[in-house]
Symmetry: C2
Subunit: 259 residues, 2 copies
Amino acid sequence: MNVITSRDNAKVKRFASLHKREEARREGLVFLEGERLCREAFESGIKPSEVIVTEKNVPWAEQYAEGAEVTVLSEECFKKIASTVNPQGIACLIKQPVLEKDVPIRGDGSDVYAVLEDVQDPGNLGTIIRTADAFDFTAVIMSKGTCDPFNEKTIRASMGSVWHLPLVTASLDDAFSFFEKNGVTTLAMHLHGEELNESGITLPAAYLIGNEGRGLSEETSAKCKSLVKIPMPGKAESLNAAAASAIIGYVLASKRDAR
Amino acid sequence: MNVITSRDNAKVKRFASLHKREEARREGLVFLEGERLCREAFESGIKPSEVIVTEKNVPWAEQYAEGAEVTVLSEECFKKIASTVNPQGIACLIKQPVLEKDVPIRGDGSDVYAVLEDVQDPGNLGTIIRTADAFDFTAVIMSKGTCDPFNEKTIRASMGSVWHLPLVTASLDDAFSFFEKNGVTTLAMHLHGEELNESGITLPAAYLIGNEGRGLSEETSAKCKSLVKIPMPGKAESLNAAAASAIIGYVLASKRDAR
């Protein structure tokens, strides 16, 4: 077994830099650390592009990440790439899906995409991902200003749904091009939209949810085919982003299943 | 102006004990502390049963709590009843609504009630209250094991909706009696329920949402007229409590508005 013991080793340096979310994102990777997090991802069928363990966790890697490329680090080296003081000695790299390459089009008109512009709260994001998974939507596409789908709070709020469907971080311009090319209609959830009329909705569809405080930007709204508002006869001025997402998600799922 | 300066004063002792949520609940009261919290409640039309301020905040009380009974405490005395080390010197008591007395029946068949059994997450509770407010539901009724609707996190998540509709903590047995007496149908949100069929739903209605981990108890489910499940063709096994509440809430609101 080849154990890397030098903190100056090129691989160690690379892992340490990939631990910074921005750096990993640039390479299209997600760095996961910790036994439970990695195991849950693998058990959901995620194939790691690389597994990084300390010597004592080699049997773990053999059990849970069979067939993956495994790099073994000394405890000291692992500390350099870990975010905790006493790391468990288990981490991995997975590929984050990419819009053009990894977002499927089912082609039978059943596709629904959740599109998020700068959603900030990890709990909201996790709940939105969980709902999209429950309704078997095709993917969740997030603007670059949306919080990280692979941060711990989001993963927890998603109840594991982060591993069940493609989560893509992309520019919304690219997302609109993708929708146009594939005949996907776009619905902006917007407080100045028309009241949601279920009969007027066609599939495949993408629904867009904006930032918790500002809502969807005017720039993004202007690019959508229609602006839709959930009727609110009460005193609250708006709905929570995850609640709005659940409602429009339910409406689109019902529409799809009624075809 | 009569300023209470003795920490042994009977009123001071009473306020100090009411600051414990359990004690206040026994008396049907809610203790709110802090300028912003009290002001938001008053600005939403909540009439305090008692306002408690330090000397320097008497003008504040005159401005925001006109007509209320005001008790003035010395800074030292206020510290005894406050939860922070450097309190702002503003607190109030408000009456928590009571099931039989304060929960209205509109009588035109438009009533919808959200009923929560042991919902634990303050963020979920706040979001459920916000959604119920947005849909102009009649009240939110919470089992005694549900987290406190007036804790800070819940109030924040509700975006002020906690002040817009009656929030009642009650035994669910009393809630079922109330619904039976008033011809309100009861829908349990339950993973073993029948798939939600909008045409089968009648109003007035109450929908019941259970604890985040356990769902609705079998005991409570058995008392409901029907068990309903939101169809979930995807991999997620369940929905977040606030997401499920938003969906059934939307369905019931649409039903009501379509009458």
